[in-house]
Amino acid sequence: MTTTLAVQAAQMLLVLGLAPLLVGFVRKVKARLLRRQGPPLIQPYRDLIRLLRKDLVLATSASWLFRAIPYLIFAATWVAAALVPTFATGLMFSWSADLIVIIALLGLARFFLALAGLDVGTSFGGIGSSREVMIASLAEPAMLMIVFTLALAAGSTQLSTMAEYLASGEAGLRFSLGLALIALIIVAIAENARIPVDNPATHLELTMVHEAMVLEYSGRHLALIDLSAELKLLLYVSLIACLFMPWGIAAPDAGLEALLIGVIAYIAKLTAVGFLLAVFETSIAKMRVFRVPEFLGVALMLALLATLLLFVSRSL
């Protein structure tokens, strides 16, 4: 009981602490790949602290909702991130929400972020929101179909159970899981506004989505929104790691040693996925916004195919 509680608490703080680092790492690798020096690894932390110190500049037409939204988004994303197993399965509160709920919590955060884009009444905010909901309208069903695939394979929608099942080796190599992995990677790229769907580094382009929605935020609000975005990236990386790279993850009532191995393995996985993400982003160009539906349509079709295969036979 106390161990699981401790693991849960450690995990909540760990994701919060590591999220900016992951972003810093990806930026650093991208910079090195482009033969630039790049900002130091801890730059995202510095950015957050700097933003927190600054005054808040609020547009005159902003409403009370605009000021509440950063906290809402942060809360929803943090709760979702805390429910994804990172270094140990069997989290204290994993039974309170299954993978569908985690996806829906991210959907809640997106719902409010899109509203924030519309609140001040600028054209940039509107363009960001309208494109975000368009992307989400394909990414979310694709994600749900991925959840279906995993749930049918593991016989449960609980993320901990799924992770344990996939870690047990009982699953083996399966065609449907392979399709689900590809779909999940596509969805993760789109959901986190990475290249080729969106460019996290731009600020003045008509093609931007996420940055356009948060254009009116400043100071502590922007810090929270940035931290939430970083948490979301970490969440998706953790999700891919715990489902498709389940090596080294500690069992529910493991000893201290196993937990330590779990943490080291988790950091190694983050490094690996972060590195791959940076390589992928450097080697591909950004898409036109109306190519994105096709890109996401592929994910939706693959995930649907994976689900269909499992409906036909549980062993596929």
Binding site: A59, T60, F93, A97, S123, F124, S137, T307
Partner: protein
């Protein structure tokens, strides 16, 4: 006892209607009608809840009314009790709202007499226990609601809405009439008990199923029979729109559940195929139509179509599971559908009431003329936001719970042996997922364009908060949305007797589950705790706020919007409802609505403004309704000649048909 109370309420509503005629045009009349309706709905709600939760045994009653040799049968079982809860909850909320809202009614004499009749009609439908009483109450409900739809008949649009509604409602009743005729058999056993105990000839079952789908589906708004709904629901005064969308469509779901699960006998697997296919299409079409609207009330009405699809997906799954004897899974799907019935009646009602408040405050239904209302009507905006989150199926509110249960039911379907269902159900699942995501987009648009941003017109700039009665009603519904979202276990348990009586089994009882979680099948499979998720979010949000206000700068400066350095003071530069939907229109609309955009750019030197013309085609209307209208029109034109004949011709016709009928009788084996 409960049944007597419910019948007394219906009778009292009829008397109120008569009374209102005497007090037409006075404030007293309004207060009397809505006040008494509110009280009666409260009593009805208490009685129905008592019957549902107390698991009172089925009550029956026969009154010497209606057809002399049948009488009027009434029956109150778990299913009726549940739908009575929905009707009375909706009726209560609408009446409370109307105590304040009704003050702005321009034509009270066209609303007040019919409002209690409409409530009485819906009450009688769910307790009717023979075909005649059922159809009579059904038609009573249809006609009284038609009168309410036509309340504002000076608007041209409403005339068309009323016409289409009347045609579709008569068509639906006709289908139900024939269905009951087939169910009753040649002996004319019209009491539901007799129908329950007899077996329909197997060859007739498909026909009955189709007729019931047409009859109840046309009232509920199943695609392609939804055409009247988005016209008629917004035309009525807002509290009645809420009743039409939130409650009357549910009465149609009741009709389907009653006939198909209770009267028609054991289901076959293909029933499920038909229902699921229709429901899946309904889901996605409903929400896509809704996304294309810029009239707030019409958007809400179209969105009802989507939710009816979700409910019918649950019912279809329940049929499939039942056909193969998987009672526990059927109970899960059926409970999910019923829970969505309740949830939808809560949040859709809330949203319609909110749109009514906006309408009173600004006189506008068109979102393109609104904006920035959150500053002027913060309380209405808050409740509307709660409704939007709930209807978008986002945790921790109630819409999410019923969709989550539906997903859980879908995940049980690989156990079905039928290949048809094995292929159809994943496809329906993906349609459901797609419609859930599109619903969120739709309500970002509805809330964002109406309440956020800057006011687009003078009317929106001068909006004012609505009255206390309306706010009380909306806050009650919003609170119920939250309660049903964070404590779903109690609601699922209350539905257990309904599932038990309809599909033979019920979901495992939830009250023993620790920490008020819900566990639909087994703990290892799935569980959800809305309360805990809600508390976690509150705690982490508050913690973040405290930490930030303790350690970070807490200064605020107000300034003009940044907008990348080029803020435009004109409110016309904001995104509108049409431009917000443009990406989705381009992705989905080109296929579904054959959407096309044309930019009309004047040549250099020309002073006229550039225009963007968007064309959408309602494919279903064009492909289905237009041809029928053309055929009916042509035939009517041809037959028109018959009306200008001489008396000799008519006598001749009478003679010929008489001889013809006698011949048929003579030849009939």
């Amino acid at each position: 006892m409960t049944l007597v109370v419910v019948l007394a309420i219906a009778a009292a509503l009829l008397i109120v209607s008569a009374l209102s005629l005497a007090l037409l045009g006075t404030a007293l009349g309004r207060i009397l009608v809505y006040g008494i309706s509110l009280t009666l709905a409260g009593i009805g709600l208490a009685a129905a809840l008592g019957a549902l939760i107390g698991q009172v045994p089925t009550e029956t009653l026969t009154l010497p009314l209606g057809l002399p040799w049948i009488g009027a049968h009434f029956r109150l079982d778990a299913l009726s009790a549940f739908f009575l809860v929905v009707v009375n909850l909706g009726g209560g909320a609408a009446s409370l709202y109307a105590l304040g809202f009704g003050r702005h009614e321009t034509a009270p004499q066209r609303v007040l007499p019919f409002y209690p009749l409409f409530l009485a009609g819906m009450t009688l439908v769910v307790i009717a226990d023979d075909a005649f009483t059922f159809l009579f109450s059904w038609e009573f409900m249809s006609l009284s609601s038609w009168a309410l739809v036509m309340a504002h008949d000076h608007v041209r649009e409403n005339l068309r809405a009323g016409y289409v509604y009347l045609v579709m409602a008569s068509f639906g009743t006709l289908a139900l009439l024939i269905a009951f005729g087939l169910l009753a058999g040649p002996d004319g056993a019209y009491a539901f008990d007799a129908i329950r105990n007899s077996q329909v000839a197997p060859g007739l079952v498909p026909l009955v199923l189709i007729l019931v789908l047409i009859g109840s589906g046309s009232k509920a708004g199943l695609v392609p029979l939804h055409a009247w709904l988005p016209l008629a629901h917004p035309a009525a005064p807002s509290h009645v729109s809420g009743l039409l969308s939130g409650v009357m469509t549910k009465v149609a779901v009741y009709a389907f559940a009653r006939i198909v699960f209770d009267l028609l006998g054991d289901p076959a697997w293909w029933w499920s195929m038909v229902v699921l296919a229709l429901a899946g299409i309904t889901c996605v079409m409903g929400v896509l139509y809704a996304l294309m609207q810029h009239d707030l009330k019409r958007l809400l009405a179209y969105h009802t179509v989507e939710n009816i699809g979700i409910i019918f997906i649950g019912l279809g799954l329940a049929l499939g599971f039942q056909a193969y004897g998987l009672g526990w899974a059927a109970a899960l799907a059926f409970t999910a559908a019923l829970l969505h019935v309740l949830n939808h009646s809560l949040f859709k009602h809330l949203l319609f009431l909110g749109s009514g408040a906006v309408l009173t405050a600004t006189g506008e239904r068109n979102m393109e003329h609104l904006g920035g209302l959150i500053h002027r009507m913060p309380l209405t905006a808050f409740t509307f936001l709660v409704g939007c989150v709930a209807i978008s199926a986002l945790p921790p509110l109630n819409g999410f719970v019923s969709e989550w249960l539906t997903f859980q039911a879908i995940l049980q379907s690989p156990q079905l042996p039928s290949w048809g269902l094995k292929f159809l159900i994943p496809a329906v699942g993906s349609l459901l997922a797609l419609s859930a995501a599109l619903a969120a987009a739709c309500f970002v648009k509805a809330f964002g364009i109406t309440f956020l941003g800057r006011p687009r017109t003078e009317a929106a700039r001068r909006a004012h908060e609505t009255d206390a009665f309306s706010l009380t009603s909306m806050f009650t519904l919003a609170t119920l949305c939250l309660i049903a979202g964070i404590l779903p276990g109690y609601f699922i348990d209350a539905l257990a007797p309904v599932a038990k009586s309809m599909v033979g089994e019920s979901m495992p009882l939830q009250h023993g589950v620790p920490f008020l979680s819900i566990v639909p099948i087994a703990e290892g499979r799935s569980s959800y705790n809305g309360l805990l998720v809600f508390l976690f979010m509150v705690v982490s949000g508050v913690a973040a706020a405290i930490v930030i206000h303790r350690f970070a700068s807490d200064r605020i400066r107000r300034g003009p919007a940044w907008d990348c350095g080029y803020p435009d003071p004109s409110t016309q530069t904001q995104y509108t409802s049409s431009s917000f939907a443009q990406p989705i229109r381009r992705v989905f609309g080109t296929l579904v609505f054959r959407a096309s955009e044309q930019v009309d750019m004047p040549p250099p030197g020309d002073q006229r403004p550039a225009r963007l013309v968007v064309r959408l085609t309602d494919t279903i209307w064009d492909a289905l309704y237009e041809p029928i209208a053309v055929v009916v029109g042509t035939i009517a034109d041809r037959l028109n000649r018959l009306q200008y004949l001489s008396i000799r011709h008519y006598l001749g016709f009478v003679f010929v048909s008489l001889v013809g009928l006698l011949l048929v009788l003579a030849i009939w084996p």
